[in-house]
Amino acid sequence: MTTITVDEVHDLDVLVIGAGGAGIRAAIAAKSEGASTGLVCKSLFGKAHTVMAEGGIAASMGNVYPEDNWRVHFRDTMRGGKMLNNWRMAQLHAQEAPDRVRELEEWGALFDRTPDGRILQRDFGGHRYARLAHVGDRTGLELIRTLQNKATSLDVRVFMECTILRLLTDANRVVGALGYWRESGKFVVFRAKATVLATGGVGKAYKITSNSWEYTGDGHSLALWAGADLIDMEFLQFHPTGMVWPPSVRGLLVTEGVRGDGGVLKNSDGKRFMFDYVPEMFRAETADTEEEADRWYTDKVGARRTPDLLPRDEVARAINSEIKAGRGSPHGGVFLDIASRRDPEYIKRRLPSMYHQFKQLAGVDITTEPMEVGPTCHYMMGGVRVDPDTGASSLPGLFAAGEVAGGMHGSNRLGGNSLSDLVVFGRRAGLGAAAAAAAMSDMPSIDPAQVDSLAREALSVFDRSGGTNPYEVHRKLQECMQSLVGIVRTGDELEEAQGRLEEIQREASVASVEGHLQYNPGWHLAMDLRSMTTVARCIAMAALVRKESRGGHTRDDYPQPDPELGKVNMVVRYNDGELTVTPEPLPVMPDDLAELFKS
């Protein structure tokens, strides 16, 4: 057998894997520090998931409510995450988000304005004050394009349509990565002093999802396989409002901005059912009559917030219960009504892309009729365990930021807190990586045998004939995760899922692919399945161990939160081919911050 050698090798101080908001912001930071920086992404530059974000970016600038400040934002974030968040991340996030938003503006982003010309902020679930800076309902596009233009002007090297298969390691340190060009199928090696993962989430393991094909959990798996710790993998956010009809768009996101701008949820009896689902923890600050809830939109001080804007886990569970109780809409969702509450001009101005999306894809005019919506798999709270200040993972040479990193959002993320997370921690990870690279005098060395065996393994799907069809394996995986590891889980089903997932993982490992290496989606999917099945197993395993209900993790057999489990993260590790889950204590919040939760 001849050894596979890879001719194309790029030497970099900092390698950033992923060009969404987090990755680009990290690359900008590293490049600005003088590090030679490369940015790798699976799609074209500017098409990452971040482009789809709609509602806005959370930052306590206090432009609409001067009462707002970072402490209030911090408190909302921790409570939304059911106190499982890494307190230091939540603190840094709340403190730095306003500066990051102003920085975006300085780089050319044009946010909607207040009457006196400052950045306008809108209401979103779980946020005490109107806090989301936004551009209509296409904030993600504004964010990614601004960062893209900035990175382009700094001459950051971009390697687009290039997929990273594995991280390369040397003596327990990450020294770069092996990837392939999607276009040609040729391998490429990146040798780097420091590597930042910013690969986003995992939603493609589910059938009903708001996520794109890129969300195959690559970064989570790359980190795990290389030996880094993952935390909180049991916490997956199901967004309460995805489209349900027609089937072709099932799962597509309907922004929370609809409710922030006055839309309400109703069941088939026309009842605003959210009033029946206010949990104890939020009762004191939630309206208990429709009159008060409606008044709150304009009077944040004299009225309490509408239950339609409870944190997402609460709303998703409520919708799930209404549908199960037979009070759903014709296509198996519930109604989201803004048509009867706001005038058409307002709706079109505030929610242009929602208007467009429903009109074009469902034939529904949201200014005159209600939408049908239901929960959709949306966001992975869990991910690579990082040092809050630098984004460093537990493995030397490896950093992570954005959706692939864990800890910031605890068991449930508040809307708008992701885009801010991307720029706050993308920047920090970029700085952390640049500092780590600067501390190294020489380029690390790459082991050719490691490259050879990884490349050989990736090509094995072409040698095999009569193996499994990757599309079919993917479908099975989605069925399994949707039905057994979905919004509401039970011990029995999770046990069953373990077995099935191992079987699916085995099937994925013997996929065969026709055609050749050049731009071959069958092969790409076969590669993605390795990470998707790995992440799926992590979710199911951690979910089985967490015998309580909290945030994005609901157990029918353990419906209440367990205070003891509220003090631990589930840590997933990969050793000698085996996955393990270990509960480990959360970092303890200092007293001055803990004070904020006493009232």
């Binding site: 074209l44 233009n149 731009y519 989606p521």
Partner: protein
Amino acid sequence: MADVTMRVWRGTEDGGSFQEYQVHAEDGEVVLDLVHRLQATQANDLAVRWNCKAGKCGSCSAEINGMPKLMCMTRMNTLDVSQPITIAPMRTFPIIRDLVTDVSFNYEMAKQVPAFTPRAREADGTYRMDQKDVDRAQEFHKCIECFLCQNVCHVIRDHEENKGRYAGPRLFVRYAELEMHPLDTNDRRQLLRKRMGLGMCNITKCCTEVCPEEIHITDNAIIPLKERVVDASYDPLVWLGRKIARRIRPSGAPPAQAPGRAQTESAAG
């Protein structure tokens, strides 16, 4: 819905042809759904780009029955399915494989755009901008970089040799966005005239017609740019005056310069 006949272009830069498939279609589906079904069942290696499936990322551009469109936003019920549906890659860009083309030209041209350069902040650390001024540039920020406008623009569609000296409608939108940005201070007009080939556009409006974001590429971006470039060749002070006027204009006043066609015809060519 019954089965649909799809004629999909398969091949590489070395050549290829349309291949015919029978694909099952369901109610409410879009063209991309059928392409995916085809890929999953009959043509595992069919190359196609897509991401959001919601008209937000601009990845899935193609020519459907000869019309440049996003596959994810083209509903099957808008097409005559009694006839075969033809799906071809964008013609203006070199083929990589099947429906995937090499759009790197656009990224190369983007690298040449002189960066956004904001003026100083107000004393209180903010930037104050009027929503009305912001609206104008926000129209251009809606661009999802689908490159359909670039694909139809005859200046490069029919003339490969123009690619090095013509930015194309997408990039004109980008220049307009900067030119009309309430905070920007950079002057890119000579560059537009001399190096980006603004004069080669003869306002056929084909670009505007295909823009899925309904950006008025010609009326709101290209024509005002042409006017400003004319100003630049005559009198730098007029331009400067306009930039300043725009900033300090009190809210409610009409735009300093309404987009119009008056001078433009003479500016073309």
